[in-house]
Symmetry: C3
């Protein structure tokens, strides 16, 4: 797949990692066109065996995704004035992010600018978020506009930071810098701007060493932990574990690890040595 027929996403694939740059001038607003490309990319990537990990960033030096276009919300051709009945399934927007949550590829977001409203809800739907200490800012301004976040923000934030901090975030409508976003759990970590690209690329490359099927199992197990009770989740994990240890590729990795004498004090005391041995084993198997 060459990913040439995208207008707002620049896509490049290198060693099982897709680098996707969002470029929707003048301010990376989230509109239906950008949304459509995120949908199309999900479908394309799903069946692309050359992709294990996806790294999203922005072409705009100041905005990651500014927010959902406010003019759409007051446009009755998109949102008719008549109140619709209570929905029976999540909206198109949310369903897309729920599919990104469970599809068997890993999504990582590198945030080096302002991300607000529906843009924040996009990144909350992805798997991991890293923000530049100097340049990233996060806010959910919907409250002060008289509306509520409609792309999952209230649900994702409450799960990440608890009720009190989620209420502070969506009622206070203030911008959080990356350090505060890290403290509250909005992002995985705040990383100095000079290091963030190296950090994210290293993480992506490392994850790309994992056998494809096992990436799917790992994601399924974490989704189960969010969706099920502890006892049901433990059973689901058992079942996925049973499947993973019977993958031929996994068995070969484990056998080589034992045969090469890696399960020893000397190798395992040193994390660098251990990972080098593992990388060599994996590369020989492929």
């Amino acid at each position: 797949m060459d990913y040439k027929d995208y207008k707002l996403l620049k896509i490049k694939i290198d060693q099982f990692v897709a680098f996707v740059t969002i470029d929707n001038p003048p301010m990376n607003l989230l509109n239906f066109e950008l949304f459509g490309e995120l949908y199309k990319f999900l479908t394309d990537a799903e069946s692309d065996e050359d992709i294990k990990v996806i790294v999203f960033d922005s072409a705009d030096p100041d905005f990651f995704i500014s927010h959902f276009d406010v003019s759409h919300i007051i446009d009755s051709s998109f949102f008719p004035e008549k109140m619709p009945p209570r929905p029976t399934e999540p909206s198109f927007f949310k369903s897309l992010m729920m599919r990104y949550r469970s599809f068997p590829k890993v999504t990582i977001v590198k945030i080096e600018g302002i991300v607000g409203g529906g843009g924040s809800e996009i990144i909350l739907g992805f798997d991991m978020r890293f923000g530049s200490k100097e340049k990233a800012y996060f806010y959910q301004p919907e409250g002060i506009f008289g509306i509520i976040p409609g792309g999952g923000g209230t649900q994702y934030l409450t799960r990440l930071m608890g009720r009190a901090r989620a209420l502070e975030t969506i009622l206070g409508c203030k911008r959080f810098n990356a350090d505060l976003a890290e403290q509250y759990g909005w992002i995985n970590r705040a990383i100095p701007q000079a290091e963030i690209t190296g950090f994210v690329n290293d993480l992506a490359n490392r994850i790309a060493l994992i056998p494809s099927k096992n990436i799917g199992f790992l994601k399924q197990a974490v989704v189960a932990a969010e969706d099920l009770s502890i006892s049901e989740g433990l059973i689901e994990e058992d079942h996925l574990f049973n499947r993973s240890i019977r993958l031929p590729e996994s068995r070969r990795i484990m056998k080589e690890y034992i045969n090469k004498g890696c399960q020893t004090r000397e190798v395992e005391i040193d994390s660098k040595k251990q990972i080098e041995k593992l990388m060599k084993i994996i590369k020989n198997i492929h």
Copy 2:
């Protein structure tokens, strides 16, 4: 409403914010009288359109609320010696705090002293908690008295900090300063004593800009996130979003924002400029 018929709460309303000072000498013990006033205030405030946000603090320089009066627990006129049957609904205490959790006003607690036991459970039932770095201390001493927290502490703390830290808190019975309480999620944030009043008042005033009905929607969405599965919660959020975007006041704010040219790179890159524009729009509408 003039709120003159309260003995233990001093209540003052200013621009949609109610300032409530707890004053129950000699040490702000939580007794049935104080509890009765917190119940009465919930009912009064619920129907008072002049209140959007409530800020609680204490008249005692050393204690926020010391704890529930131990002499009540061993008084058989309050707690008969005979073990009651398993309850089928939460106690009066907990039901009150659950009503504060879901009623359509925002509660913020400013803690500048010791808060323990049932007092801690009161603040855990409110929406947000900010503690003075120098003066606030938090503890659940019930364990060492041979009893368990009975006002929701075990449930709220486990949700906020996870099983391991909740167990450390309620089994260790130690006092946490504000920094540790922040780290464990007991409070939103630890704020230097010199700044805490300004911080809390600023947050309260900012939230008071939000249309009343929308405050209710935002709180409902977060309560849904605590009570429902992810997929059910996302649907509830959709429904509340659909209602919020059809509020006449919200539509006017959004239209003005677009018409005044605020959805631009120049305005939104600067958080101060953006909030000033929004405040002007909101004040013109009222």
Copy 3:
């Protein structure tokens, strides 16, 4: 009970605290023998009235528990090649940790070395975890071996740190030092190596002051918070509270506290004074 018939666990009891040192050379691998002793100890300790709190540490200066023996996973006498049907209850490993979670004794882990894979899942099943700032390292390497954590790791970590950080942990497979493990909630706290033994022993001794039955009630309440909805959990807490305040020993502690004039501003303003008074009351009662 003298606990002499253990090979891999060194067990010593002092004032209601059991100190259990794991000693399985050459690198504290988690194998079936060690697992068997952890099972046997659960059963022995359960009925031992001399134990209220259990502190686990390691005899190995570099490893707490290295991980589950990889050679077992590829051994078809342990894990047959044929894929088993979907399980209907958690595996033996997980059931053991779930019993440690709910049994009426408190488990505390002091980690002063590397802990990985199944070893990490053992500590995640215990009640509290403290790690040495200088010496503790944590990792879940399963992903890179082509398998998933099978001892509850995906479920426990997601509950402790949320989806995004759990995914980073189990997909990135990197070693976390104690500071990062603390930040992500993997452990309760990172403690300087020079202080960790004092800290853990002090906490254990303090918890050992709590009446045995009440330790059980406190743990049950927190387990309820993990397993039930908020409203069901609050009712369970009510029921346990009602039981706890009717324990004869608890009533005596509370009566003495009131009779000795401890519920006063002067005593309670000073946490040291308050705990000394309580300790004296408790020791007189026994």
